[in-house]
């Protein structure tokens, strides 16, 4: 333990002005991204591509923030000690949920104004390729109690209400403890975690089903929520590493972080890399093995066109297999890579990029041509994906940076803070 609270406070104070400057930059970049995406929707003839790209960018950023919420809840439920010094950064980041809700509103407006535009099942007269309309489709009728606009709206509101409520509880308890040092806040957060984890698990699962999986409402996969969860946590850990390296480089975390913090977060990244692979492979393998048309069509759309030729999406699948699993898996095996901040930063950057590709892979093939084939991966839509990520991500980063100077850098009066500062030393 080499850092005193006084030193931390001074470092925090001197960094305050630069943080505020970075925050306004982030907001500017975010707004530019959102405006560009809006322009894309305006100039695009059928508007479908940019809107779906926005769904990709939105889901990607939301997944990462959900992952942070889940990591804080897991931290409290297992009474973790090493992650106390990093938890605070996540607490700042989850302030973004209210802004994410605002950013979901355009999609909600699309759902109400042009039903069936983003999610085909919202329009009962939507023509299905080769067999009637949604309204006459038995696979829709059986799911109509779940897949209808009222449920979609209500559930989405409930997701955000749950996330905003949980994050404000966690933030308030942790921030108040900084000033009064009362251990009751720790117990309160542990209780929040006990009921927050099932809430988090259910909401993120249903969010993934409503927002992403229902784009192909014929499809079944019980692994979908777990797949989404794995990406949430991987994204949150990756951004956590980026923040650690950034704050270490800037001097804030000097004397606070040691090798073992990087080792631990790298190890968790490794664990969730394996978990993601396990879940994603299970989904593919069970569908491949059972070979039922209601399920295989989803992968066929991502591998073949109607003539049976492999499409770009097949290659995207391979990029995900190697870039999202093998590369992080093999590099994170190494102890040295996990404890060397600039190498770990590179590995998690790859993970962050491949999560985005994974989101594209799950969402964009819902865009189809007249033959019912998925539109190719390499298209103008990628530009709108990037502007959406920059837009929504910029707003999230701004929200984080805006919250950052309002508290101490680390929860200095958390009962486990000294354990965390001397993690494995």
């Amino acid at each position: 333990m080499s850092s005193t609270p006084a030193a931390t406070a001074t470092a925090g104070h001197s960094a305050q002005t630069t943080t505020a400057a970075t925050a306004s930059k982030a907001l500017t970049v975010g707004i530019v991204g959102l405006v560009l995406t809006g322009l894309g929707i305006a100039i695009s003839p059928d508007k479908h591509g940019p809107v779906m790209s926005y769904l990709v960018g939105f889901t990607y950023c939301t997944a990462i923030v959900i992952g942070m919420l889940m990591l804080i809840l897991i931290h409290h439920i297992v009474d973790a000690s090493w992650s106390v010094v990093i938890r605070r950064q996540y607490e700042h980041f989850i302030s973004a949920f209210k802004w994410l809700f605002v950013l979901f509103l355009p999609l909600m407006i699309f759902a109400w104004v042009k039903p069936g535009f983003v999610w085909p099942w919202m329009d009962l007269n939507h023509e299905l390729h080769g067999h009637g309309t949604v309204g006459t489709d038995i696979l829709y009728q059986k799911k109509a109690g779940f897949l209808n606009l009222g449920m979609f709206t209500g559930m989405t509101l409930a997701f955000f209400a749950g996330w905003v409520w949980l994050s404000s509880r966690l933030r308030k308890a942790s921030f108040t403890q900084d000033s009064d040092g009362d251990v009751k806040w720790t117990f309160m957060n542990r209780k929040t975690a006990a009921f927050g984890l099932p809430i988090g698990a259910l909401t993120l699962t249903f969010a993934a089903i409503y927002w992403v999986k229902s784009l192909e409402y014929h499809w079944f996969s019980t692994m979908y929520g777990v797949w989404f969860f794995a990406n949430c946590i991987r994204g949150a850990l990756a951004v956590g590493v980026l923040i650690m390296v950034w704050l270490l480089g800037r001097g804030d975390y000097k004397g606070i972080l040691n090798t073992n913090h990087f080792y631990s977060i790298g190890l968790l990244s490794f664990a969730f890399t394996v978990f993601w692979a396990y879940v994603t492979f299970s989904q593919y393998f069970l569908i491949w093995n059972a070979n039922v048309p209601e399920e295989t069509f989803w992968y066929n759309l991502r591998e073949l066109d109607s003539h049976g030729h492999t499409t770009q999406w097949w290659w995207v699948g391979l990029v995900i297999l190697f870039g999202h699993f093998f590369l992080p898996f093999l590099t994170l095996l190494s102890y040295r890579f996990k404890v060397t901040p600039h190498i770990l930063r590179r590995i998690v950057s790859i993970i962050l990029v491949t999560i985005l590709i994974d989101m594209c892979y799950n969402i964009l093939p819902a865009l189809k041509d007249d033959h019912g084939d998925s539109l190719p991966f390499l298209s103008l839509n990628l530009v709108w994906v990037l502007t959406s990520v920059v837009g929504v991500g910029g707003v999230c980063v701004w929200s984080y940076l805006k919250s950052f100077p309002t508290t101490k850098l680390i929860p200095i009066r958390d009962p486990r803070i000294s354990e965390s500062l001397t993690h494995h030393e």
């Binding site: 393998f285 491949w288 494995h424």
Partner: protein
């Protein structure tokens, strides 16, 4: 008949004493020596100048062997030796070989890790020369020891003894092999 010497042992009362003594022995360039403590002392590996264990490499080799074993087992049995069509699937596909390969990866990694660890640390060991040292039982309770083996190239009875004394070691005595 003078018994063959195993080396020198010294007692230390506190972890900082041991830690700093270990740094001195390390800096003197000794290689065949060890610390004996009643509990793990964090950072002692650095004070002793120990490198990271090579067990992870043995684990990796085990894992790769396991993966290849699983894949080749299924490729050989299903694709070459006894071809059967099951559920309209190909004779061989990495898809259905994967769960087995995955299990064997884990199994062989575990074997290699445990086996590699035992091979490198020489356990189980039923006899060790330090057991003849009268204070060694305190090593399970509240005392710390440094043992420097006679086979170390730098070992010299008088000089090594002086080093241990200078490092603050007590009850320095010579161990029979």
């Amino acid at each position: 008949m003078a018994a063959q010497s195993y080396g020198l042992i010294a007692t230390f009362d506190t972890t900082p004493d041991l830690y700093h003594a270990a740094e001195k022995v390390r800096d003197a360039g000794y290689r065949n020596w060890d610390c004996i403590t009643p509990f793990p002392v964090h950072g002692l590996d650095k004070a002793m100048g120990l490198k990271r264990s090579i067990v992870p490499r043995i684990s990796l080799a085990g894992g790769l062997t396991g993966f290849c074993t699983g894949m080749s087992l299924i490729a050989w049995t299903g694709g070459v030796d006894y071809k059967l069509i099951v559920g309209g699937k190909p004779y061989f596909s990495p898809m259905f070989a994967f769960p087995v390969s995955y299990e064997l990866t884990i199994l062989f990694t575990a074997f290699a890790t445990i086996g590699g660890m035992f091979f490198l640390n020489g356990l189980p060991m039923h006899y060790h020369p330090v057991l003849k040292y009268e204070h060694i039982r305190r090593g399970m309770d509240d005392q710390f020891f440094i043992v420097i083996e006679a086979k170390d190239p730098r070992f010299n009875l008088a000089n090594t003894k002086a080093l241990l004394e200078q490092a603050g070691g007590k009850n320095i005595s010579e161990l029979e092999a």
